[in-house]
């Protein structure tokens, strides 16, 4: 009596599988091109980070902490974090993770900013996108890994694909909210003086929405970082892989070291991107 009656429900899983196989057979070429572009960007960024001498990167991070975040103390703490990561023997892995994050954020912004702007200017688009964004954010992130694997195989590209899907909602949302909450009179003023839509966007909406957009970028970056770690499960080299190995071998200490390195990276990335939203 108390059990839910057995019945033939919606064959949703079947539909999704069918859709996937349709996409794979008909749009295989498209995914190859997308994969090629993503791969080249991330490899390019990786090359920069891996080829720069370690002390240059540490100095740059320190400088960013001092000049952007505010205090010299912050810069010194950042440098200590980086040195600690290196001392654990994770320098190369950390640089790979960082490259993946930066590349993912780059693509997220490329997709997210225009979508956020479109959403702010078009109510219908907002109605359609909102539940979609909710879904993207609340769906367990592992779920993205499966189709990503099917589209792009193992490696960096599927990890990034999953990361972008997971990390793009905040920047879309906050761009939308930022533009929609722009001071009404500033907007009216621009229109009253005969501004075109483009002038309104670049002179008023984007500059006034900037703090909100920057918070969105900060959140997107943090989500990208957490997802890149999970992305290691499908073969993206990085700090996440160390965690995964530690779990498999039940090596608590190794897992803690790798986890702490991720935390250090996260703090540095968060403070630096957050500082952008605070500046005038």
């Amino acid at each position: 009596m108390l059990d839910f009656p057995e019945m033939d429900g919606l064959p949703l899983a079947e539909w999704v599988d069918n859709a996937m196989s349709w996409l794979l057979t008909h749009l295989g070429g498209f995914f190859d091109v997308v994969g090629f572009i993503i791969l080249n960007v991330v490899v390019g960024i990786e090359q920069i980070f891996l080829n720069l001498p370690w002390f240059v990167i540490i100095l740059l991070v320190g400088l960013a902490g001092w000049k952007l975040v505010g205090k010299m103390r912050t810069g010194i703490v950042f440098m200590i974090f980086m040195i600690l990561i290196g001392s654990f023997g994770y320098w190369e892995l950390a640089m790979r993770t960082l490259s993946l994050v930066i590349a993912s954020v780059f693509f997220s912004l490329l997709i997210g900013l225009p979508l956020g702007i479109g959403m702010a200017r078009n109510d219908k688009m907002e109605i359609i996108l909102k539940p979609l964004l909710d879904g993207m954010q609340t769906m367990p992130s592992f779920v993205y890994l499966i189709p990503a694997l099917m589209f792009f195989g193992m490696g960096k590209v599927p990890a990034m694909f999953a990361t972008i899907i997971y990390a793009v909602p905040p920047v879309i949302r906050l761009t939308n909210v930022g533009i929609r909450t722009v001071d009404k009179e500033a907007l009216e003023a621009a229109k009253a003086f005969g501004a075109t839509k483009k002038q309104v966007l670049f002179d008023v909406q984007l500059p006034l929405a900037k703090p909100s957009i920057m918070v969105g970028i900060n959140q997107t970056t943090m989500m990208a970082l957490s997802m890149v770690v999970i992305g290691s499960m499908i073969g993206a080299k990085g700090l996440g892989m160390e965690v995964l190995l530690a779990i498999n071998r039940i090596e608590v200490g190794r897992g803690f070291q790798a986890g702490l390195s991720i935390v250090f990276l996260a703090i540095i990335v968060d403070r630096i991107t957050y500082s952008f939203s605070q500046k005038k």
Binding site: E185, E188, F193, G194, A195, V204, L208
Partner: protein, 421 residues
């Protein structure tokens, strides 16, 4: 049907004389209804119902109902009403920040409700400047860039923008503040930037949406005075929205009072205060002191005895005696006021040795005069200091009449009596 209407319209326009008297802005049968499918309200039986009933039965909100206005070139026109009366909607219609549901708005002979998007943008650039209640400045731009923003939109190069905006910043008293950001300025100064931005375009028509409502009273009064001064120089057509009666009376050439989206009365400040059209307006002007509206010109009287400078002292004396007066004003042949002379002075002249043929200048004492525009409030200190009637003269010093303490008090008590009735 449509064709004949169009023909009629053209014919009407063609025969209008192109004189100063043609109103610059003509608004006919203007309606604005907010909500879903607003046109159905205009067709159906709801058209003549009260605002609240329309809202209850259809969910639509009546913004403006059948507005008809004419605004002359160079006029300082006030739209006054409580919040929700439709005054802000009205002013936004003129520039189509809000689009009317039906009706026409002719500006300089062009129906702006029929402009397409590009024409509208061009029209806004060419014709209007607008000032907002909360300033509507761009916080990421300097004061100078804000003032020059209208010119930037027009696509003017930077040098020219700045060259044109600088003198205007100076006019509004912001010299030296060019490089500051609006956020670091006080409210009054921010509104000066707003005003400078509106004026930098050198617009024909200035729209001001409660520009001084957010300012504290002292600054507000100062800004009002400066605006009056500026308008004397610029002679723009100004449409000014306010809910403050004193502001309306002080600034306006004409005032349109709005309630629930309708215009209830249009008139000069004096009309509004002395002849309120209905109870709503009466309630509005209840606090308005007539002393702030009535002017010397409206209450002045003729004088029975006037002396002329070419008359001999003897004739003058006869005049005074015949009318039982002790003193009188003296005019020259252009009817300009020279001053006042007393019976004793004239008597002395007659008994003196040289016996002048006309009243000499030394016998005429210069006195305080007022212009016909002086409001009663400003007359109080003058009449209290001067025991004789105060002469009213025009800008060429020509004598128009006099005001006396009695007249002033009488005019105030009469209009108050009407109000209480």
């Amino acid at each position: 049907m449509e064709i004949s209407e169009a023909k009629l319209g053209n014919g009407f326009l063609g025969t209008l004389p192109d004189s100063e008297e043609t109103p610059q802005i003509v608004i006919r049968d203007l309606w604005k209804i907010f909500g879903r499918d607003p046109k159905r309200i205009l067709k159906g039986p709801f058209k003549n119902m009260k605002k609240e009933i329309i809202q209850k039965k259809t969910g639509c909100i009546l913004g403006m109902r059948n507005i008809n206005l004419e605004i002359k070139k160079g006029e300082f026109y006030i739209l006054m009403g409580l919040s929700g009366s439709g005054k802000s909607t009205m002013i936004r219609n003129l520039i189509r920040l809000v689009n009317p549901t039906s009706g026409s708005i002719m500006i300089n002979g062009r129906d702006i409700t029929k402009l397409n998007n590009e024409q509208l943008i061009q029209f806004r650039r060419d014709t209007f400047g607008m000032v907002f209640q909360h300033y509507g400045l761009l916080p990421h731009m300097t004061v100078l860039d804000n003032a020059a923003y209208g010119l930037k939109i027009k696509g003017l190069p930077k040098d020219e923008r700045y060259a044109r905006a600088m003198p205007i910043l100076e006019t509004v008293g912001l010299r030296g503040w060019e490089d500051y950001y609006p956020g670091s300025l006080s409210g009054g100064m921010q509104q000066r930037v707003g005003l400078a931005r509106a004026l930098a375009n050198d617009p024909e028509i200035l729209l001001m949406d409660e520009p001084f409502s957010g300012l504290d009273p002292l600054i507000r009064r100062q800004m009002q005075d400066e605006l009056v001064e500026l308008q004397d120089k610029l002679k723009k057509t100004i449409i000014f929205v306010t809910h403050d009666l004193h502001e309306a009376l002080k600034l306006g050439d004409r005032i349109a009072i709005m309630r629930d989206g309708e215009v209830v009365q249009i008139g000069s400040p004096e009309d509004i205060v002395t002849n309120p059209a209905d109870d709503y307006v009466k309630e509005f002007v209840r606090d308005a002191s007539p002393s702030k509206v009535l002017t010397a010109g409206s209450i002045m009287e003729n004088v029975k005895v006037l002396l002329y400078a070419w008359e001999g002292p003897k004739t003058a004396l006869t005049h005074l005696n015949a009318n039982n007066r002790k003193s009188a004003f003296v005019l020259n042949k252009f009817h300009q006021l020279l001053g006042v002379t007393k019976m004793e002075t004239l008597l002395k002249l007659i008994s003196s040795v040289d016996k002048p043929p006309v009243i000499p200048e030394s016998a005429i004492r210069k006195i305080t005069t007022v212009s016909p525009d002086t409001i009663l409030e400003d007359l109080f200190p003058i009449v209290s200091e001067n025991p004789y009637p105060i002469p009213v003269v025009d800008s060429d010093n020509r004598f128009l009449g006099v005001v006396t303490t009695d007249q002033i008090f009488e005019s105030i008590s009469v209009s108050e009596g009407e109000e209480n009735a």
